[in-house]
Amino acid sequence: MRRYFSSLMLLVFAGSGMAVVAGSPAGTATIEGKVTYTGTPPKMKPIDMSKEPVCAKEHNPPELVQTVTTAAGNSLEYVVIYISKGAPEETTPPTQAVRYDQKGCMYTPHVLPMEVDQPLEIYTDDPVAHNIHPMPKLNPEWNKSQPPGTPPMQTKWDKAEFIPVKCNIHPWMHGYFVVLKTNHYAVTGEDGSFSLKGLPAGSYTVTAWQEQYGFQNQDITVGAGETKTVNFTYKVTPYIY
């Protein structure tokens, strides 16, 4: 189940990656790489959904907490990679909405990057009610109920921010809206790999963000048509403080 779930997520990411490629002119550069860890990663606990039996029976074996999601080859999943410096700031927000799903009392994807003012649609497939409670500091905080069978919730964020989102009814449901000023972003898949396509030639600062271990920056210069590799390594600790 878990493997299937992850490959589904990869597909979703691939899809969003392609959307970026579509509008880019020929002769653009690509930055790609892999995010790995050194050290002993924390052992993530299985999520106890016994308080919501409908959801619990959808996950067998139970899903693990996704705060630090690792896989074979020391790869780190759900790391957001984006251009923090060098790319021209987007003036017009994209009209294409990004989609956030609630399925089996889990957020899919766990980390959802988007642009400032980009439409965000929050879907629910569950037969139980959720409340969507994003907890931003810069943007206004809100908290809305979404009972089963209701149409997707339409919203957007007007300031760049890393926003934790939770459901109070199901305290294990935890995710992030990552609101960025650039359209050059990616989230690492299960193998920890990412690729930022369609970049004009130039010098950039590439930033990686992991919800537990924070930010890392690397500077890189790419020429037209070039593909360069930028790898990130996080030092992990066996305990989460």
Partner: protein
């Protein structure tokens, strides 16, 4: 001797006259208005002064005298008393005014409250927390405190308060209304936190935390205590339609239609057994004449479970 007494009497008379004419501020304008403030929709603050700084009775002065102990000098809710608020006993921590997130609003979730919302909240106090009612302060003083509270968060500089939600006239609390409200209570899964009998003991109740990660309890209807944001049916309507921002209580404005919301209000009243409200009498009467017709509320009636 006699002459002296007359002179003294004359001068004290003059002094008294001056005092009365000048109107010492300590005797003037103590307005103990014990109306339920949430009933008034017309702005009170606008007609009062609302000074944060610089005048007699300014918000800053009053804040430093009465509020700083809990809300702190920076308004971030970390005053020296804040550490003694035991959230595990159900006492919320003092509000962080810097975040600009407020529970009791007449405005939709995610928006800033109106000045009147803050004014009413200061006068009302927050039942079940350590925030008392500040009706002992004058209206002007409370209006000045509103200006002070608003000075802490940058949100007030860049955002306007939301538009208060419109509330239709209350429908009669008939048994049909109560029963429909009961269906909504099940459908919206209010019982997940508030419990099937509204006792605040739903399956998710023990796991709830507020924005700052402190434990928080859902309202227990059976006790019949005042609600967080007032005591009238309109207050109750407003609470679940706007949500209590910063707490786990979400807004149901997108899910419950305005006329249906009154049905939910009427049902919620029947849960306040300690108050013996008229809605409860109507509901009990119906139950006696229709034995065994009431569907259960809670997990056994939830879709998908047990089937």
């Amino acid at each position: 001797m006699r002459m002296k007494t007359t002179v003294v009497a004359f001068f004290s008379g003059v002094v008294l006259l001056i005092l009365v004419l000048a109107g010492p501020p300590c005797f003037a304008q103590i307005d103990h208005n014990i109306q339920p403030y949430t009933k008034t929709e017309t702005s009170k603050v606008g007609r009062l002064t609302g000074h944060a700084y610089g005048v007699t009775d300014s918000g800053a002065e009053i804040y430093r005298r009465y509020c700083v102990g809990c809300h702190g000098p920076y308004g971030d809710g970390t005053g020296e008393n804040a550490m003694w608020f035991d959230t595990t006993l159900g006492f919320s921590k003092p509000r962080d005014f810097v975040a600009g997130t407020f529970k009791c609003r007449s405005t939709p979730t995610g928006t800033l409250p109106t000045d009147d919302d803050l004014f009413n909240a200061i006068g009302r106090g927050f039942v079940t927390t350590n925030m008392p009612s500040w009706l002992a302060l004058s209206d002007v003083q409370r209006a000045n405190l509103v200006a002070m509270v608003k000075s802490f968060s940058p949100r007030w500089a860049s955002e306007k308060p939301g538009t208060p939600i419109s509330i239709p006239a209350e429908s009669p609390a008939t048994i049909e209304s109560i029963l429909h409200g009961r269906e909504l209570f099940q459908k919206m899964e209010c019982w997940k936190c508030h419990g099937p009998q509204g006792r605040g003991d739903g399956p998710s109740a023990s796991t709830l935390t507020d924005d700052k990660g402190n434990p928080i309890r859902p309202y227990d209807f059976s006790t019949g205590t005042r609600f967080m944001c007032g005591e009238t049916n309109t207050d109750l309507y407003r609470i679940f339609m706007t949500g209590l921002d910063g707490s786990p209580m979400p807004s149901f404005a997108d899910q419950i239609k305005p006329d249906e919301a009154w049905d939910l209000v009427h049902f919620l009243r029947t849960l306040q057994i300690a108050l013996k409200p008229p809605e409860l009498a109507t509901f009990m009467q119906w139950q006696q004449s229709h034995p065994g017709q009431l569907k259960p509320i809670g997990p056994e009636a939830a879709p998908g479970s047990g089937e």
